[in-house]
């Protein structure tokens, strides 16, 4: 049985590569990127290698396919260390979506471990925070629209939508300049390195910093204080543990360029 599972893992990533092709991903060139976060160790910007990012967040239907292929990620089988009890709690059953989880809606109530395993199962990985932030800096026409107050206002207006309403379908928004949809205004998204965002919550004692918790310098602060949308994302991700799940947190996958 275990050998069989291991064999399956050998085969599935290849199937994933063949199965979802270019239509599912947009290619981004990368380069030097000035984050809204102030990295003391990278004042001239972070370097991002070329990568591909899923055009839409992963949907309920896609995640159902995943838990069908890998039953250890079904909510009644998953290890507690990988997902809290609310994991996929909005699905009708461990293997049926039901009325509260439509196939085209982005999957939510997923932990980092489950998101990570999904991406691995399709031969991909979660995007890094920098990759995500870089992709999300674009609007429909500009690769970096962040200096535009109107763009910021739009993002914040999206975020003020109450989270107790039903989620729209994934893929309804116009693609941004990179060909990626729904980075703002649909769900929050896991990043591979969500736990690298060592800010405020981890560093509460500003004046009398709890230095023993950190190895060396390099704590983060906001470089672009007007970019509240990024601040909200960072505050949210930095407060999460890998097993946590929430009603408006989903994910999409990325691939490194070959």
């Amino acid at each position: 049985m275990r050998h069989f599972a291991a064999l399956l893992l050998l085969v599935l990533p290849l199937a994933g590569l063949a199965g979802d092709g270019a239509a599912r991903y947009a290619g981004l060139p990368g380069g030097r990127f000035q984050s809204a976060l102030k990295y003391e160790d990278a004042k001239d910007g972070v370097r991002i290698k070329p990568f591909a990012l899923m055009r839409r967040p992963v949907t309920n239907a896609e995640f159902l396919d995943f838990v069908t292929r890998l039953p250890q990620w079904q909510r009644n089988h998953v290890a507690g260390v990988f997902a809290e009890a609310r994991y996929l709690s909005h699905w009708e059953s461990p293997t049926r979506l039901g009325p509260a989880a439509l196939p085209e809606q982005p999957v939510v109530w997923v932990s980092w471990f489950a998101a990570n395993a999904y991406c691995e199962s399709v031969g991909a990985r979660l995007p890094t925070w920098s990759e995500w932030e870089y992709a999300a800096a674009a609007d429909e026409t500009r690769k970096d629209a962040r200096k535009d107050p109107a763009w910021r206002e739009r993002i914040l207006a999206w975020y003020s939508r109450p989270s107790n309403q039903a989620l729209p379908r994934a893929g309804l928004q116009t693609a941004n300049a990179w060909g990626v949809q729904d980075l703002h205004g649909l769900v929050w998204e896991w990043t591979d390195d969500y736990s690298s965002l060592l800010v405020s919550g981890d560093n509460r004692n500003q004046g009398d910093a709890d230095k023993a918790k950190f190895c060396g310098a390099g704590a983060l602060s906001m470089d672009d204080r007007e970019n509240y949308a990024v601040l909200m994302r960072v505050a949210m991700l930095s407060s999460l543990e890998g097993a946590n799940t929430t009603a408006n947190l989903g994910f999409r996958c990325a691939r490194s360029a070959r």
Partner: protein, 189 residues
Amino acid sequence: MIGALATLLGSASLAASGRDAAPLPRDSVYQLPLLLTTHSGAKQDWRGRRGQPQIVAMFYTSCQYICPLIVDSGKAIDKRLTAPQRQHIGVLLISMDPERDDPAALKAVVDKRKLDMTRWTLAAPPAGDVRAVAGVLGIRYRQLADGEFNHTSALVLLDRDGRILARTEQMGSVPDPEFLAAVRAAATP
């Protein structure tokens, strides 16, 4: 990817050996397949540590400031245990820097800090698994542009089945009394 596969294959052979037939508790950190490369160059599935309580921490060898304190913290706890208690607890330090922490780098710390190799293991996970093991242990970290790491530090006490019994972020030569009490309790047969 390849790392994950290797760990899964490792787990298959471990399961085949028939050791510890009872299923792991769902809240055990050993639910995560993790194939470590130890300071002696051995490949070791960390689930093989099941059966004995463990003190686990994450560190990296080139760290100048806090990581030596992590070793100090483990040694300080050791010092306050009785000899029989010590024999009932293992210490596992997992590197967050597998690119640089090869067996030679790990062994250098073992030698320099005169660590008891019968009970202490310094080991590196596959690069693709660092974030996951940090996740189950509740450690946050970021690699800086110069290769150093910004990270939280914790000692985590696991029971014989890999469930977290206690954790402390108090580092140094004076152990957190509550954590020490938990270690003593776990190490007393």
